[in-house]
Symmetry: C2
C-alpha cells in the first residue's frame, strides 16, 4: 500500500473513536460524552492550562499525546476511573489495540506515535505527567457542572476521588486541583453529608 | 475573576461545541458529526498529513489553529460548504462570537488565540492554507465512506466540488486531492452519470 493510502486508512479507522462512549456526561447533561470529543476538549485544556504544570512542559508534545492517547479505545473500550477493572488484562488489550491501530500507519509514523502513546501510559516524563493530570481533571469539571455527574452512580467518596483522581491531578497540575477543591468539598458536604472529613 | 477561573470558564463554555451538528455523517452513517469531534479528527489529520503540505508548515501551530478554528460555531452554528449562505453576514456573526468566546480568557490568551483564529480565517500564511485544506478534505473522505454522504442531499456536481473544495485542498495539500480524485470521479460516474466531463 502506498504511503497516503496507509495514512488515510488510519484516519478513517480513527473515525470510530466518535462512537466510543465514556461515563462522563456533557455539561448540559444531554448525553454521554464520546472519546473523540473528549480528546479534543483535553487538547484544548492543555493549550490553555500548560502554564500551571508542576514542571515546564512542551505543550506541543502534550497536545500530540492527548490527540493520540485514547485511540486504543476503538478496540479496548473506555474504562471508567471509578469502575472495577483488571488493570493487567486491560493493559494487554490496549497493547494489542495499539499494535493494530498504529500499525495501519507507515512504519515511521507507527513508531513515532506508538512511542508518544507509551510515554503517556508510563506517566514518567514531565510532558506525560501533565497530560495525565489534564486527562483526569476534565471529567471532574464535567461532574461539578452536572450536579455530581457520575459520582452518585459509582458511589464515589471524597477519599476515593482524592486517591484515584486528586493525587494524579496534583502531581502534574496542583494549582488546578486547588482551584477545584472548594467546589468538590461543597458538593460532597451537600450531597453526601458526613463523607467529608473536617 | 482570577486567572484559573477565567480559563475554566472558557473551557466549560467550549463544552457546547459538542452539541453543534455538522452536515457530515460519521463513516458508519450512525449519526451526524459534531464540531468538537470534527476538530479532534482534523487535528489528527494535520499531524499525520503535514508532510504533504504544499510549503513547509509548523504542524504545532496548524494543530492549535484547528483546535480553535470552529469555537465560534457555539454562537454562529455550522455553515455547510454546499449550502447557501450570506458570507458577509456570517463573518459578522463569527466576529461577534469570537469577541464573546475568546473574551472569556485572560487578556493575553484572548489575544493569542484570537490572532491564530484570524490567521486561519485569512487563509494567507502557509500554516493557515494547509489548515484550511485539511478542514476541507476530511468531509470529502467521510462522504466517500458513506456512499456520497451529503452530496446527493445538496445536489453537488463535480464542478461544484472542484470549485468549493478541490481548489482549496489543492492549494494546501495537492497530493491528498490527487489521491482522492479517482474515488471522487468514480462516485460521480456511478451515481450521477453524465456529470463527469471526459
Amino acid at each position: 500500500m502506498d504511503r497516503i493510502s496507509a495514512q488515510l486508512a488510519f484516519l478513517i479507522e480513527a473515525d470510530r473513536l466518535k462512537s466510543v462512549l465514556r461515563a462522563t456526561k456533557l455539561c448540559d447533561k444531554s448525553r454521554r460524552e464520546n472519546t473523540a470529543e473528549h480528546s479534543w476538549h483535553i487538547a484544548l485544556y492543555a493549550l490553555v492550562m500548560a502554564e500551571h504544570a508542576t514542571r515546564p512542559v512542551n505543550v506541543d508534545r502534550v497536545i500530540k499525546m492527548l490527540l493520540l492517547h485514547d485511540l486504543v479505545e476503538i478496540d479496548a473500550g473506555d474504562t471508567p476511573i471509578h469502575g472495577a477493572v483488571d488493570a493487567d488484562h486491560q493493559a494487554a488489550i490496549e497493547q494489542k489495540a495499539a499494535d493494530r491501530i498504529f500499525g495501519l500507519l507507515p512504519a515511521d509514523q507507527n513508531a513515532e506515535f506508538r512511542a508518544l502513546w507509551e510515554e503517556f501510559e508510563a506517566a514518567q516524563s514531565d510532558d506525560a505527567v501533565f497530560a495525565k493530570s489534564i486527562d483526569r481533571v476534565q471529567p471532574v469539571i464535567s461532574n461539578l457542572e452536572t450536579d455530581g455527574g457520575t459520582w452518585p452512580e459509582y458511589n464515589v467518596t471524597p477519599d476515593q476521588l482524592e486517591t484515584r483522581v486528586g493525587v494524579k491531578v496534583r502531581r502534574g497540575a496542583p494549582a488546578i486541583w486547588d482551584a477545584l477543591k472548594t467546589r468538590i468539598d461543597l458538593w460532597f458536604t451537600q450531597n453526601r453529608p458526613g463523607s467529608v472529613k473536617k
